[in-house]
Amino acid sequence: MQATQKRNSFMKRLMGESQTLRLFIITVVIFIGFSLVLGDKFFSIRNLQSMAVQFPEFGILAFAIMITMLTGGIDLSIVGTANLSAIAAALVLTRLSGDGGAGMPLEATIPLAMLAALVVASLCGLLNGFLVSKVGIVPILATLGTGSLYTGLSYVITGGPAITTTQLAFIGNGSLAGMPIPVLVFVVLAIVFAVMLNRTSFGFNVYMLGTNARAALFSGISEFKVLVRTYWLAGLVAGIAGIIFLARANSAKPDYGASFILLTVLIAILGGVSYTGGFGTVSGLVLSVLSIQFLSTGLNMLMLQLSGSSAAIFFRQFAWGALLLLVMVVNYYVEQRRQRAT
């Protein structure tokens, strides 16, 4: 009797209250599942390493979309921002150093290039923040518009083709203390976000604004300040992602990572970030990023093995969409149960 009660409460915790634990179990199950099915093709040092360099690209972007979703908004321009920043960095690198450049030493150009990327990203983010908070455009439409604007500017600057430079490859391929640098960036960002959201008044205000904008207003929180900072931060994080894009691909182009918008929304929702704002944790997001990477690699291997055709890559596109809808439907039922329980 007591045992069943205990199990019930454990199940309850698993279903509703501890979303992070639930996600942790899902992530582990996915990992073990693919390891069993695919054997050492999946569970090998080599595959683990290759997965480790893949996930920071969209993992970092997921932080950008997360913070905007916490306030009840969304930033659909993050990929456009990332590419525009990458192009700014690539331009600085190719114009000032390297073959046919102005002959500046690389030690000076590389920090300058990163600065350029972050400045461009900040401007993009600030424009979003201004449009959302001051002008009052719905975040979906404002960032849909600026996303098109930033991508368009990338096309205008490059004329279409990619700008190639291998000077950041040391970031993309390098490692520090045994950890690939992109992963390190991801980890640092995760810590910064965790501290910022849980320990600072800005973080508190973000959750507050997302939970109840009216209450936030009456408690003296400046919606304008919080929103501008939120979208500025999202832009800045997208700029960091842009630098990683450039470092990994050795080129910057206007249409890189078109699928990342869907992927980051999926990661956020799977990670327990509420699209109405106010709820979501860094630990949930990190677990979600990991499980998406396991799924991505695992599904690809599995479909290739099963069908053997090149069309297997399109299966992932289908799977991401289907998974997003599935997660939202599951959340719907979990929420219904929770409401019935209280």
């Binding site: 929702i269 969409g321 809808l325």
Partner: protein, 332 residues
């Protein structure tokens, strides 16, 4: 309020006239019959899509999956016609495409109406799902050898005007766009369902209290948009004489920009068929003719982005100002 609609439509119309004058003075070919027919031809498919998007936006939602539905319907229909009924008429093709579109639209509707999920995230998901399924399971090669009925339809013309060199043809598919436009106008203007769509966009709660069956309206909206998208996709393919599974997807923003430019507001149950027609015309002119005044095509995306920002920014500022004025009046 009606003054606001009118002023918005007048603004767009004036912009069209000014832009046409600027382009025409720089490059007189703009006003030729040939170019005019070209512009009309370019508005055919966007016009059909735009009528669907208008209904969604008026209802307070947003749909980004309609392009995937269009290309899904086009590609599947082309394969069905080729493999199962090579001699079928083009109308059978449109019927199949419309049915496929309706089916996919109902999937959107199911998630939106049954689970009350946000329309953007649902359709972002189904966009990826539909397109992925098409490429993975139905085909990812371009079909150039289309069935004879599609080929014949592509070559047909409603009006032929001989020019100095060749002919200026007006494609009969413009009648489909005209028919759809008329239908949507009647729907929004004269039916209870149309009232319901505006009511839902204005305030869901109020619409429910007023007795509208909101889920049923949503099933209609997303099903109907799917159906229109199927027809639009089929029209696109039978004018281009090929079925390319990578076509159409990625042009969502152009259509949304056109509808937003026409005065439809995502936030407030506003939007008119006339405004949408004008919006489509302006976007088509901007896309097709900026080159004529020396603006390179790489600027197209920038222009689309700016159109969306201005089209959504102006009403946002207006409504902010209005609510501030209201507050001041209340204080007095």
């Amino acid at each position: 309020m009606s003054r606001l609609f009118r002023s918005n439509e007048v603004l767009v119309a004036v912009t069209i006239v000014l832009l046409s004058l600027i382009i025409g003075l720089n490059n007189p070919t703009f006003f030729s019959v040939g170019n005019l027919f070209d512009l009309l031809r370019s508005s055919i498919v966007m016009g059909i899509f735009a009528m669907g998007v208008l209904i969604v936006i008026v209802s307070g939602g947003i749909d980004v999956s309609f392009t995937a539905i269009g290309v899904f319907a086009l590609y599947s229909t082309t394969r069905i016609m080729k493999e199962a009924m090579p001699d079928a008429s083009i109308w059978i093709g449109f019927l199949i495409a419309a049915a496929i579109g309706l089916g996919l639209g109902m999937i959107n509707a199911f998630f939106i109406a049954r689970f009350r999920l946000p329309t953007l995230i649902v359709t972002l998901g189904t966009l990826s799902m539909f397109h992925g399924f098409l490429l993975f399971a139905i085909g990812n090669q371009i079909i150039r050898n289309v069935p004879p009925a599609m080929d014949a339809f592509a070559r047909s013309a409603l009006v032929r005007i001989p020019l100095e060199r060749g002919m200026a043809n007006l494609h009969p598919a413009i009648l489909i766009t005209a028919g759809v436009t008329l239908l949507v106008w009647l729907l929004l203007r004269y039916t209870m369902l149309g009232r319901g769509i505006y009511a839902l966009g204005g305030a869901r709660e109020a619409a429910e209290r007023a007795g509208f069956n909101v889920p049923r309206i949503q099933y209609f909206i997303y099903g109907f948009v799917g159906l229109l998208s199927g027809i639009a996709g089929m029209t696109f393919g039978s004018m281009a004489r090929q079925a390319n599974p990578q076509d159409i997807v990625g042009t969502e923003l152009n259509v949304i920009a056109a509808v937003v430019l026409g005065g439809a507001q995502l936030t407030g149950g506003r939007g008119t068929v006339l405004g949408t027609i004008l919006g489509v015309m302006l976007v088509v002119i901007a896309n097709n003719s900026l080159v004529l005044v020396g603006v390179p095509t790489v600027w197209q995306r920038v222009v689309i982005g700016l159109i969306i920002l201005v089209g959504t920014g102006l009403p946002a500022i207006q409504s902010k100002r209005a609510s501030k004025q209201g507050a001041r009046l209340a204080e007095v």
